[in-house]
């Protein structure tokens, strides 16, 4: 199908990206404010009454960057990848349009109380801190909108399958749809938390809520949401980056196997966020720890397959020797450089993740700045930097323009990596060595220790560098859309060929039923008993409090 056959799909993607980048733009400003506050320079006084406290700023930073930017970028990107990979338009376009409108309406609804300091509950919104009902309803609508869009893509894949019986689903479409299937199942936790606990309670229909049950439902979604962020990146690393590097996907079957394992293992791991919680048996926490170790396995497989795919590219470009192929990779292409560096950072994030998942070591770092460092390596750097790299071909494609100043984009990518490395390293150290608590207005804390200061200053330097780098990213994107020249040749979605014909991939790696059954069974085994216990003993005794 010709490119102009995707006019609606391209427009939808562009709208998603626009909102995603708008949210990131706003949310990013609070990063430097936080790190400067920690280092002794408090600028929040100058922002009142617009922004009334550090914690309102922190809520905006978390919700806009971690929830809004990611969700809108991902749904937009996966719509694009699915239709381009299947080479067919959306099956029921109105469904995806409705989904997008619901997401956007939900975002508006949640944004108003956030901006009015009526929802300064951070992006985890643990009750009984009680935000305005509009905040909960708005976020719920964002999730529901993403479901509607997902269903639109399921129909699109089903239509393709009916037209191509017995043919392997193209890898990019497969990975994209699998990500959304996983998200649909995973987000049932947060949906239940919202519908049964938080929304009726914030509307005053019930007097109290059950904070531990709410936390448990939150983390049912709260861990797999990181795979909802990561898997679209893996779609790009496996399915596109090898092409950008001049190589081929090293193993189509193992790429698919990794995705299936993520479907099965992403969800039954959430209790590792609750190792320090009372009221949940260590036995179930232990099971979730084991499953968290298991979900590290497909990421380790990914490391091999993706690096081997890039090596094929480096060698095809004339690289030789054990490491010579690394130098010949297309480092000058900012889209490639961003994603290759994101991968390198993710290796460190992965090691930290295994530490966090470990029963005993987690207690050393739980709720300390270590976690903030970890989160910024994984989501803040590996995911966001990959999205940035993707934007460097996707935005030119959508706008029909050349990327404005690839050299500025290269500076942007490297300064982002440097800033994030400094920021994250100092946060890891502060958390591990001193147990400095996260999400805390440290500059005003009476217990602020002089030992921490040099590291907090380092974190501030790193944080400001990341902020400046992101500002450059916005300039590049806007200049590409509005000030760049029409592209000389069409910019297409990079699609990596597999080293071996995907038709050789065994059929069980393209069959949904067994994997979906395994997913449901594993969730039932790992979450069924502890959730049933909490639900059977539900205790709606905590009234809402607004103490910010």
């Amino acid at each position: 199908m010709a490119e102009n056959g995707f006019r609606l799909e391209e427009k939808l993607t562009a709208w998603h990206l626009g909102i995603a980048l708008g949210a990131l733009f706003l949310g990013t400003w609070f990063g430097p404010l936080q790190v400067l506050q920690h280092a002794g320079i408090d600028l929040y006084g100058k922002l009142a009454p617009g922004i009334q406290s550090y914690y309102q700023g922190l809520s905006l930073h978390g919700v806009l960057n971690a929830l809004v930017y990611t969700t809108f970028f991902i749904t937009g990107f996966l719509t694009f990848t699915t239709v381009h990979s299947l080479k067919r338009p959306l099956a029921i376009p109105s469904l995806n349009v409705v989904g997008f409108v619901v997401m956007a309406a939900g975002l508006l609804m949640a944004a108003v109380p956030l901006l009015l300091n009526q929802a300064s509950v951070l992006y985890t919104f643990y009750p009984p801190l009680q935000a305005s009902a509009f905040f909960y309803i708005g976020l719920t609508l964002v999730v529901v909108g993403s479901w509607i869009e997902a269903v639109g893509l399921f129909f699109t894949l089903a239509a393709w399958c009916n037209a191509h019986p017995g043919v392997r689903t193209p890898f990019i479409a497969f990975g994209s749809v699998l990500t959304l299937v996983m998200w649909l199942i995973a987000s049932l936790g947060i949906a239940a938390e919202m519908l049964f606990l938080l929304i009726p309670w914030s509307l005053g229909w019930v007097k109290g809520t059950d904070p531990l049950l709410a936390r448990t439902l939150f983390w049912f979604t709260g861990h797999p949401i990181v795979y909802f962020w990561l898997l679209p990146v893996y779609v790009s690393w496996y399915g596109m980056l090898p092409k950008q590097a001049g190589g081929k996907l090293f193993s189509d079957p193992l790429a698919r196997l990794a995705f299936w394992l993520f479907l099965v293992l992403s969800i039954p791991v959430g209790l590792h966020h609750q190792f320090a919680d009372p009221g949940i048996s260590p036995v179930w926490k232990g099971l979730h720890m084991i499953l968290t170790y298991a979900v590290a396995f497909p990421s380790l497989v990914t490391a091999f397959t993706v690096i081997a795919s890039l090596e094929l590219g480096g060698r095809a470009r004339g690289g030789s020797g054990l490491f010579g192929w690394i130098a010949t990779l297309p480092w000058k292409d900012p889209s490639f450089a961003a994603q290759a560096l994101a991968m390198l950072i993710f290796a460190f994030g992965g090691v930290g993740g295994i530490i966090n998942a470990s029963y005993n070591m987690d207690l050393v770092v739980h709720n300390t700045l270590w976690i903030v460092g970890h989160f910024h390596l994984t989501v803040g750097a590996a995911v966001a930097l990959s999205f940035i790299g993707i934007a460097y071909w996707l935005v030119p494609h959508l706008a029909g323009k050349n990327l404005w100043s690839p050299s500025a984009a290269r500076i942007q990518v490297w300064s982002f990596v440097l800033g994030m490395a400094i920021f994250s390293a100092s946060h890891h150290f502060l958390g591990f060595r001193y147990g400095v608590p996260r999400r805390t207005m440290l500059g005003a804390a009476p217990y602020l220790s002089p030992d921490w200061h040099p590291w907090l200053v380092a974190a501030a330097i790193g944080g400001i560098l990341v902020w400046a780098s992101l500002m450059l990213h916005f300039v590049i994107v806007l200049a590409t859309v509005f000030a760049s020249r029409k592209s000389d040749r069409p910019i297409e979605m990079p699609v990596a060929e597999a080293l071996r014909d995907p038709a050789e991939t065994p059929a069980w790696l393209d069959a949904w039923t067994p994997w979906l059954v395994a997913t449901i069974v594993l969730i039932a085994l790992s979450y069924g008993p502890p959730l049933a216990h909490l639900i059977a003993n539900v205790d709606l005794s905590s009234p809402g409090l607004r103490v910010w």
Binding site: Y55, S120, Y126, P128, L129, D210, P211, L212, R215, F250, S251, P253, L254, F275, A276, D277, P278, G279, I280, S281, P282, K285, G286, M289, I290, Y293, A294, F297, L300, V301, F304, A308, I354, Y359, N360, L363, V364, H366, N367, R433, Y434, G435, P437, R439, T440, A445, P446, Y447, R500, E504, T505, P506, A507, L509, D539, S541, S542, L545, V547, W548
Partner: protein, 160 residues
């Protein structure tokens, strides 16, 4: 029917990955074998009664046996009550913590004594203090606009 083909190098990598994760798991298992315990104790408490009923209405440190203490701490916006706990070196202290309002956290600096305090549940965690000195404890869960003000300390005194 096609079978799954895996490159020999990748096969070794996958095997090594599996072994590595298994060894990590054994290491965690060993710590449990040697006595490490996660929090997870279940004891429900009505948040509206925390400030009214004993033991949290007037929380105190009680010596249960020589060298063994129970420390009851009310964790509320925005203070630990009591905020100072004095014990002699070599003591084992079991902390019982309850919140009358929102979620809080309890971490003793530079240790693995780390537990959430969630309304509706009493948290319990045990620590042994051998070295004299001051050990600060902090709230590490966001609990409102005064969150950063919450801290206290365990003062471990030299045995006379």
């Amino acid at each position: 029917m096609n079978s799954l083909r895996i490159d020999p190098y990748e096969k070794s990598w996958m095997l090594a990955s599996g072994v590595l994760l298994f060894v990590f798991l054994l290491a965690v298992g060993a710590s449990v074998f040697y006595g490490f315990r996660l929090p997870g104790h279940e004891s429900r408490i009505d948040p509206s009664r925390v400030t009214v009923d004993p033991p949290f209405a007037k929380p105190a440190v009680i010596e249960r046996a020589p060298g063994r203490y129970d420390a009851y701490v009310r964790v509320q916006i925005w203070a630990f009550v009591p905020s100072e706990i004095k014990i002699p070196a070599g003591s084992t202290v079991t902390f019982y913590l309850a919140s009358p309002d929102v979620q809080h956290g309890f971490v003793i600096e530079r240790t693995n004594i780390n537990v959430m305090v969630i309304p509706g549940h009493m948290s319990k965690i045990t620590a042994r203090f051998d070295e004299p000195g001051e050990y600060r404890f902090l709230c590490h869960e966001y609990c409102g606009v005064g969150h950063h003000l919450m801290f206290g300390k365990v003062v471990v005194e030299r045995r006379s």
